[in-house]
Structures are given as C-alpha cells and as structure tokens.
C-alpha cells in the first residue's frame, strides 16, 4: 500500500501562510491573541519536529526499555500539565496524578494491545507509543476538567459539603455530588463528540491511517476501539486521581485544605 504524499519543506512553509488568517482576525478585533498564537505554533512546531526525530530512532531501535522510558516521560509531562492547568499545587498532587495516569495507561494498554489487537509484544514501538500518546492526550483534557471541577466546586460549595458531613455523611457520601458533577462536566463533551463522529467530524487517527494507506474499514475499527479505550482510560484516570489525591487534599477533620490551590498556597 502506498503511504501519504510527503510534504516538502517549502510546501510546509507555504502551509504556515494559513496562520495569516487567524492573525489578521485577532489583530482586527484586538484580542491580544496574536503573540500567544505565534508562540504556541512555534512551540508546537519545535516539539513535533523533535518528536518526529525521536520517534524515527525509537521505531528503529524498538527496544522495550527505551519505549517504556519514553512513555514514562510522556506520563510525567502529562501529569505536570494536568496539575499546572488546574491551578493545584504541584508538590501535593504530582504523585496522585502520576500514579493514576500510570495505572490507567498500563491497564488499558495491556488490554487493548495485548488482548484486542493481540500483539505478542505489547511494547512494540509502532503500536505502544502512538496508542499511549493518544490515550494520554485525550484523557489529559478530561482529567483537567474533572479535577478542576471537583476541587473548585467543593471549595465554592463548601457549605453543602460540610452540611452533608455534619448530617452524618461518610467522606465518600459527602463527595458523591461533586464526583457526579465533575464526571458530567468532563464526559459530556466527549459523549457529544462521540455521538456525531463520522457525521460532522472525521477523527484524526482514522484520517491519519487512511492517508497512510490503510483500508478505510480497518481505520474505522481502530477508531472505534480507540474511542472506547479513551473512555475507559479517562474514567479510570479521573477516578484514581480523585481517590489518590483525597489523602492530601483534606485534613483529618475532612476539611478541604485551602493551600491545595497554587494561588493561595504561596
């Protein structure tokens, strides 16, 4: 099968001209977004080029230890990003988020790559790295939404939270409405996107596979699996993160610690 047509470096530069459209709009409406957009695109370019370079070697070596190390680095960066974006204190939350991410990734990777795809060696770079990357990338924004919604809501609705405890709730019981809200907030967009997939959007992975020369039906099957995998790994990740971080986020009397938020902890 033929792969996708390569994009020449000059053509890639020509592609960057498309950036003029948002830049012009941002300038006209004086949004202050021109600089952040250019910085973000610059970062994205450098990061992806570096990743392209790394991946070329990682695929060539295909060494389980190096692959594992690569995923470990991705997990650390992902955990760091989750905590930074939620405004929670890194020192308090890093282990909880990292542990939850690691466990959810390992469990789902083993099931998907080992059982569903049926790989003899799940550490095979060509599968292990992109699938894990996709899981991390997709669960990242949902974990951010859920974790932020969970702790911010408890802080804002402290009276409701305490009212439940003071009326006999165990900790799990008092947290239940907040967990429900956090999950609804994180999963509603994912459910909505999933429901219209194929109608108004063609997902990136499927498009990539088709461009790469895969049979469209194979690409569709992978896409279906990857969405199911994203659902499972995200919920596991969110649940474990909340579960692990509770130990550091509440004091002995079950009060939410005020110093868990970066802006107040300094």
């Amino acid at each position: 099968m033929k792969g996708a047509i390569d994009i020449g470096w000059m053509k890639l530069l020509a592609g960057y001209l498309l950036l003029l459209i948002p830049v012009v709009f941002f300038r006209i409406y004086r949004t202050g977004l021109v600089r952040p957009t250019l910085v973000a695109v610059g970062r994205m370019t450098v990061q992806l080029l570096l990743v392209g370079l790394y991946l070329e070697y990682i695929f060539r070596w295909d060494n389980p230890w190096i692959n594992g190390l690569w995923v470990l680095v991705m997990t650390v960066v992902s955990s760091y990003t989750v905590i930074r974006r939620t405004g929670l204190r890194l020192r308090l939350f890093l282990w909880s988020v990292f542990g939850a991410t690691m466990i959810s990734i390992v469990l789902i990777d083993f099931y998907f790559l080992g059982f569903v795809i049926g790989l003899k060696n799940i550490w095979t770079a060509r599968y292990f790295i992109p699938v894990t990357g996709m899981l991390l990338g997709n669960s990242l924004k949902n974990v951010i939404i859920a974790l932020d919604a969970f702790y911010r809501r408890i802080d804002e609705e402290e009276t409701s939270y305490r009212w439940q405890l003071a009326n006999g709730a165990e900790h799990n019981e008092a947290l239940l409405p907040f967990v429900q809200q956090a999950l609804r907030k994180a999963f509603n967009p994912l459910i909505a996107t999933t429901a219209v997939m194929g109608l108004i959007s063609l997902p990136g992975m499927m498009t990539g596979q088709i461009l790469g020369g895969s049979n469209p039906l194979t690409a569709v099957k992978y896409q279906i699996m990857i969405l199911l995998v994203i659902f499972s790994s995200t919920i596991l990740n969110v649940w474990l993160t909340i579960r692990f971080s509770r130990r550091v986020a509440f004091d002995g009397m079950l009060n939410l610690r005020k110093d868990i938020f970066e802006e107040r902890g300094k």
């Binding site: 609705e157 409701s160 305490r162 439940q164 003071a166 009326n167 006999g168 002995g252 009397m253």
Partner: protein
C-alpha cells in the same frame, strides 16, 4: 452534655474570641448571640470540627472531637447552615432526601405521610419537592432544611440563623416547634424571640459569657 474548653479563634491575626468555655446539658436550648463578625457561625463550625485554625477542646459527653471521632460525633448531629446555596444539588427532592441516603441515616428515611406532615408543620407547599432548587425562596429552603433536620432525629441540632429568612408568622411557628424537641439545640441567632425561648445564652459580645436562664 457538650463541653467547650478554652475555645479561641483568630482570623488573619485578629482575635475573634478567646478562652470560651461552656457546659451544655443534654436537651438544652442554647442561643449564641453576638454582632455580625463576632464568630457565631464559626462557633457552630468549631462544634463540628470545621474550623481548622481554632484552638481549645470540644467534648460530646466524654468523647473529644478529634479526627478519629469526628465521623461518629457528626453522625449524631444535624446542621442547618446560614448560607443556603446548595447549587450542587439539582432538585429540591435531591436536597431533601440526600441525608436520608447516608448509611447512618437510612433507617430514618421518611415515608410520604411523614414528609407531608412535616411540610405542613413548617408551612411548606405540598409540591415543594417537585420544584427546581432555584425555584424555591430562601425562606422555603431554610424551612425545608429545618424540617429535614427534625426528621433526622439527632440528639444535637446546630442551627445557623434558623429564622433569618423567615417572615414573622413562620418565625414563631418554627421557633416554638424546635424548642419543644428533646434534642440539644444550639442556634446562632439575632432573633429576640428565639433568644427569649432558649434556656442558655452564649453572648459573644460579652467574651462568650454563658448565662443559664
């Protein structure tokens, strides 16, 4: 018996109260009085272990309020806060029934007749549980939470400004009903009638002087 020993509270270096001690016999009706900012609501929170910066000791009978006993003590209290946001709950029904779903309260889940009876007692519309949480007034929400606290049949009721959102007729009705309950009732209040009906007064304007009436 609830015992407060040498309770103090400071916020941002400012002393709210200090050296507050009191003995509250079982079944007593206690009014906590004081100007705004005198720490009335904080005192109720201290009694529940919700003020991490407070010092001193609180005992329920001979059990000290510490992390290991907080769950047990809170299983014997009912609390109605002053801030009636509760937007984490979507419906009035959810708000009303939530505490009855807690493991410790399940046996108290009221049947329809009991709910209808208590709603009537607190002058609440019979269909209030069918309404959205934002569709009921502050006074209704307050009476609903008080009615719920009564149904929880706890030996200790902690009420923060229990009549602040009520009109005159409902103030009388609620105060008289709560005062005849066998429970210990500790209420932070500005309401003169409530203070008159209480057996004890903790006056935070007078540095927590406790007056048995």
């Amino acid at each position: 018996m609830i015992r407060l020993e040498n309770i103090g509270l400071h916020f941002d270096g400012k002393q709210i109260f200090d050296g507050l001690s009191a003995r509250i016999p079982a079944g007593a009706k206690v009014a906590v009085k004081g100007e705004s900012g005198s720490g009335k609501s904080s005192l109720l929170r201290i009694l529940l272990g919700f003020e991490p910066s407070a010092n001193g000791k609180v005992y329920y009978d001979d059990t000290p309020l510490i992390p290991a006993t907080a769950g047990l003590i809170r299983s014997r209290t009912a609390y109605v806060p002053q801030d009636l946001g509760f937007t984490v709950f979507r419906t009035t029904r959810e708000l009303f029934y939530t505490p009855f779903r807690f493991k410790t309260n399940r046996r108290l889940m009221p049947d329809k007749e009991k709910v209808a009876e208590i709603l009537e007692q607190f002058a609440l519309p019979a269909d209030i549980l069918e309404r959205g949480i934002k569709a009921i007034s502050g006074g209704q929400k307050q009476r609903l939470l008080l009615a719920q606290a009564v149904l929880l049949e706890k030996p200790v009721l902690l009420l923060d400004e229990p009549t602040s959102a009520l009109d005159e007729a409902n103030r009388v009705r609620v105060a008289e009903y709560i005062m005849q309950l066998p429970a210990t009732v500790i209420a932070a209040t500005h309401d003169d009638r409530w203070i008159r009906l209480s057996d004890m007064l903790i006056d935070l304007d007078e540095q927590g002087k406790t007056l048995a009436k």
